[in-house]
Amino acid sequence: MRSAGVLLLVTALVVTPRAHAEPVDEARLRARLSPDIADRVLVVVRAAADQGLPTRGMVARALEGQSRHAPAAAILDAVSRQGAALAAARMALGSTARDAELEAGAAALQGGVPEDSLTSLRRARPTGSLVIPLVVLSDLVARGVPAPQASSTVVAAARAGAADPELLRMRERVNQRIIRGEPPPGATREGLRELLMRTAPDDRHPPPASAAKKGGQSP
C-alpha cells in the first residue's frame, strides 16, 4: 500500500491539473477549503479520477477535515491516504471490483488489514459482493480484534459460505460480547464458532472449488 501511495502522489505532482474532478465536488472543495489546500486536494483527487478510482470518499475526507478544523497537512494526508488505499484495494480485489467494494476495501486497509487478506476474501467469495464482509472486517479491527485474527475470521466465514445477514449477525454478537467485557479476540473466536455452527448448506454462497475439497471446514 505504501508503494501504491507513493505512486499516486508522484503521479499527482507531475500531472498538470485538469478539469476531471466532478464540477460539484470542485465547487464544494473551493467553497470550504482555503485556495491553496483546495488546489492541492484537487490535484490528488484528479489523479485518482484519472486512474478510474471513485473519488467521492476522498472529497468527503477533505470536507470532514475542514468541519473538524483539522490542520491543512492532516487534510491533505487523509485525502492522499484514501486515494492510495483505493488504488491498493483495486490491486487486491481486482479490476472488476465495484466502487462500493473499493471503498470498503480501502477502509479495511486503512484500518490495518493486510492486502493479502482482501485477496483471500475475494478467493473465498469469488462471486457476490464483498462490501458487507469488508465492513464487518473493518469493524472488528476497529473494536480491538487484531487484524490477522479479524481477517482470518471473516475469510473463514466467507469460505464456509456464510451469507451477508449471517456476517452482520456475527458482528453484532461479537460486539455485544465485547460490550459485556469479553476480550475482543475471545469474543471473535466465539462469534465465528457460533456462525459456523449455524451456517447450513442452503444458506451458502457456492463455495469455491478448493473449499469444497476441504469440505468447507474452518481453519
Binding site: 449477525r169 455485544q176 460480547r177 459485556r180 455452527m197 447450513a200
Partner: protein, 176 residues
C-alpha cells in the same frame, strides 16, 4: 376496537389500524421467536418477516378466526424455516428427548428460561412454548402446527419435565 375490526380498517386503507395490530401483538411474537430460536437478533428478523407477510396477505385473513392465531401460524412457520436453516442436529437414540447440539443459549437470551430451554429440540420447544408460554389450547396448537393433539401432549409432557429439571438445577446453581 377488536382485531377483526382493525383488519377491516387496514384493508380499507388505514395504516394506523395495522400499526395498532402490531402494537398489540408484537411483544408476544418476539418473546415466542426469541425463546424458540434462542437468538434475539434472529428472532427480530423472523418477527419482522412475519409482520411483512401478514401485511401482504391480510386479504387471506378470515374474521371467524382469531387474528392472533392467524398471525402465530405465520410466525410458527417462519420460525420453523429459520430454525431448520441455521442449525445442525446430531442423531439421538429413539425414545430420548432429542437434544440440540448447538448451544442455543445465545449472548442475547441469557435468561434462566433460555438456559432451561437449551436441551430441547425445535418440535419440543415449539410445543412447550405454545402451550406453557402462550397458553394456547391443544386444538389451537394443532391447528397452528399441523401436529396431532396426542403427539402434542406427548411433546409438551417431555418438554415440561426436561425444562423443570433444568430449571431446578439452575435454581440450585444460583443462576437466573
Amino acid at each position: 376496537m377488536d382485531d377483526a375490526q382493525l383488519v377491516a380498517r387496514t384493508r380499507a386503507g388505514d395504516p394506523a389500524a395495522f400499526e395498532e395490530l402490531v402494537a398489540r401483538h408484537h411483544a408476544a411474537c418476539l418473546r415466542y421467536a426469541a425463546h424458540l430460536l434462542g437468538d434475539r437478533t434472529e428472532a427480530e428478523d423472523v418477527v419482522q418477516e412475519t409482520w411483512v407477510r401478514a401485511y401482504r396477505s391480510l386479504d387471506g385473513y378470515q374474521e371467524r378466526s382469531q387474528f392472533r392465531s392467524w398471525l402465530f401460524r405465520i410466525l410458527v412457520n417462519r420460525c420453523r424455516t429459520s430454525f431448520g436453516r441455521t442449525r445442525r442436529w446430531r442423531a439421538v437414540p429413539s425414545g430420548e428427548t432429542p437434544v440440540v447440539n448447538d448451544r442455543a443459549a445465545s449472548v442475547e437470551l441469557q435468561s434462566q428460561l433460555g438456559h432451561a430451554l437449551t436441551g430441547l429440540d425445535e418440535p419440543h420447544r415449539e410445543a412447550f412454548l405454545l402451550k406453557f408460554g402462550e397458553e394456547l389450547s391443544y386444538d389451537e396448537i394443532a391447528h397452528l402446527t399441523g401436529v396431532s393433539v396426542p403427539a402434542l401432549k406427548m411433546r409438551v409432557k417431555r418438554a415440561r419435565d426436561r425444562v423443570k429439571e433444568q430449571w431446578k438445577e439452575l435454581d440450585s446453581d444460583g443462576r437466573g
